[in-house]
Symmetry: C2
Subunit: 188 residues, 2 copies
DNA sequence: TTAAAACTACCTACCGTATGGTAGGTTGTC
DNA sequence: GACAACCTACCATACGGTAGGTAGTTTTAA
């Protein structure tokens, strides 16, 4: 992958996370990268193509990081959770930015089919990963909770995504920290 | 308010909740109402104007219903919560539909300023209303929880909004029921 | 070794379509 | 005669995407 292509993905991702896929245009990307619109299309021949490339890169990044933690025998459930929460905490510093797939989920009906399946996979990956953490954590007596891991993991994931969504229009950045605190309490 | 104007609001709301504000056009509304585009604009002279009217109507509907419950001495905290959760449960029957203000929050940066303040007020209203329920419920020994009502109410609201967001791309409608069950457990 | 061929990254110019919105007219009703 | 609701026709702008060309680099083969 070429340097310009990477820059296009970076700018495109930032634009989707702040403004949304529909509201983002090839022209916007071109301006910020410093090239002309057709040059962007030269690298990614359609908006759907660009969108899919973006989500796949996002998924891959997460997947490799999460797997590294999960397979590391020195890390326990709390390490894994702390790692998992850290990107969400970072969003507290950028009021208008949300998770890429949260942003896309909000406009999923306006998305090309190829992108929808990618978004869906991202969601499922995350919920499964969290479920595994909860399951193992309880087996090892590190975590303590009553609900089934399946339900609880879905709820935690939804809560984090929802908090990103809501903090955007309330300008209340403390919610992220608070919510993670409450979740942490629920697992003790 | 004229019959056609109401129809325009109805169709517009449905379109925002399923496709989003940016992706919705005057033309879409006109087609579904059965009139021509300029006639829609005759009733609502700009998209921002239509958007504001929509949110205000949505807020008013909720506010009056919620206040009716809150001020009714025959209703306790669990009645209020059940009532509060009911619209969310209805969303389980419409896979692509989310709360109007959740939808708008997802594209808040692409929204005209007048609409942003309305969305913000909606969020604040809901969080405050929930907070009051939690507060009174605990005072009357109906509800039982450890967190502060402010924090917990924000978390519950975010969780519900997040679940709407996520169910959209996962096609897993059972999440809404599950999440509400977990929340209910947290308050016992 | 070197020149033709192929490829890459980028450009200008353009096209069809859709958008929000305007101008101005028609019809029917208080 | 004023007004409301609706219409046709239009406008400027922005969009995703295409056509076709240029300059520079890389590959290939005599």
């Amino acid at each position: 992958m070429n340097e310009t292509a990477v820059k296009i993905l970076d700018v495109g991702q930032e634009l989707i996370q702040t403004r949304g896929f529909t509201a983002m245009s090839f022209q916007d990307i071109a301006s910020q990268v410093g090239i002309k619109k057709p040059s962007v299309i030269h690298h990614f021949p359609s908006k759907a193509n660009l969108g899919v490339a973006l989500i796949q890169r996002y998924r891959d990044t997460f997947a490799s990081q999460l797997d590294a933690i999960r397979t590391n025998p020195d890390k326990n459930a709390w390490d894994a959770l702390e790692f998992y929460f850290s990107p969400y905490l970072q969003f507290a510093a950028t009021p208008e930015k949300v998770c890429l797939c949260g942003a896309l989920s909000g406009e999923v009906t306006a998305l090309p089919e190829e992108m929808r399946v990618e978004v869906k996979h991202f969601m499922e990956d995350h919920q499964k990963w969290l479920e595994t953490i909860l399951n193992n954590g309880r087996k090892n007596d590190e975590l303590n909770f009553n609900e089934t891991p399946a339900r609880l993991s879905r709820m935690i994931f939804n809560t984090l995504q929802g908090t990103l969504l809501v903090k955007r229009s309330t300008d209340d950045m403390s919610q992220l920290k608070d919510v993670i605190k409450v979740i942490t309490h629920m697992l003790k």
